[in-house]
Symmetry: C2
Subunit: 184 residues, 2 copies
DNA sequence: TATCCCATGTAAAGCGTTACATGATTTA
DNA sequence: TAAATCATGTAACGCTTTACATGGGATA
């Protein structure tokens, strides 16, 4: 599913400008499992308009570019409904952190400890954010958004716990490479 | 970190052909958090060779293309060591599944149930695979590879559990949209 | 006899980001 | 006075996939 389709889906739930859609990719549940830049959002909206899947109402503003408010057309709603019933593709996950850990024997103990500390803090920060979100869900958040947020929350909890409980597996080796080799 | 750098890292741990490197991206721990096709691997190896970071020994074979065995040079090892100490970029995670769930009100209950069933099965299959890997680690697997596999295992366990325990949150709404709206 | 495994590689196309261009208003 | 917010958009570049090209041997 490309950014264009996600934009269409967002507009199916309510009118928005390109700027506001960018915000949704930066904050809120969507930001946890999708990213998009202006360079993909604005061209997507232009193309969706050309294809008749969304409509654009321009709102004149002084000292600023006109605000372009997009909304899904009936054709757009149908096109998105057709997309959403398709089987979703596999999750794409790419982790430089885990690659780095696979080669952690090239790091000195202090670097490795710092790496794992930082990553643990990151997951815990996500946990805090998501718990706050779950406690005070935004008004427009449906059951799906909350479910997705809860899903991500459980992953971040698991990640932080795993790192805390198992870091010794790599740190032990980093601390004692010579000793282990000669101690057998 | 691009595919080229990962290839260099793999060759730092042992000689391999392009075909074998592709296998590592399809099986083993690396496959759980990185993907790569021949179209990126072969050009990467060519470029690494041009830059003097890897060396190539051709092994003549009958009725098959010559096997090209690549190995990291001292310069390559140093270049990779420099890369690996850099702070890894944030994990990239993109989930069409979660996007679909955010719009689950557009699905009929049977479609939604099927979607969640399939995804739960997928995570449980990954759990089985990873548990088997952890029980019988391949000979070349270092502590880092096992740590990474354990990390992914804990994520898949958490995902499967979350789906099982919380699917009612979205399925309840899909089953009773009219009733809830009129039930005050 | 069909499919998978081995083994290499290229060209085109897709999808996206980054950096640039513009500029007033509010907040720290 | 520096930075963030609002607000749009384009062009160049980067990275990767997909599809193509080639073809024998082993396995089911």
């Amino acid at each position: 599913m490309d950014i264009r389709t996600i934009c269409l889906g967002v507009l199916t739930s309510g009118d928005a400008t390109g700027y506001e859609i960018k915000k949704m990719f930066e904050e809120g549940p969507l930001s946890r499992f999708y990213e998009a830049s202006y360079g993909s959002i604005y061209p997507a909206l232009t193309r969706l308009t050309e294809e008749g899947l969304v409509e654009c109402t321009e709102l004149a503003q002084e000292k600023r570019p006109d605000k372009k408010i997009y909304s899904a057309t009936p054709a757009g709603r149908m096109a998105f409904a057709d997309e959403i019933v398709k089987a979703p593709s596999r999750d794409k996950f790419r982790s430089e952190f885990l690659v780095t850990l696979m080669f952690s024997d090239l790091l000195v103990p202090r670097q490795l400890a710092r790496l794992i500390d930082d990553r643990t803090d990151y997951h815990l920060a996500q946990v805090r954010d998501l718990e706050e979100y779950m406690a005070n869900p935004s008004a427009d958040a449906g059951a799906g958004a909350q479910f997705a947020a809860g899903f991500m929350l459980s992953l971040h909890v698991a990640a932080a716990e795993y790192l805390t409980d198992n870091r010794y597996l790599v740190e032990g080796e980093a601390l004692l490479p010579k000793r282990q080799a000669s101690g057998g």
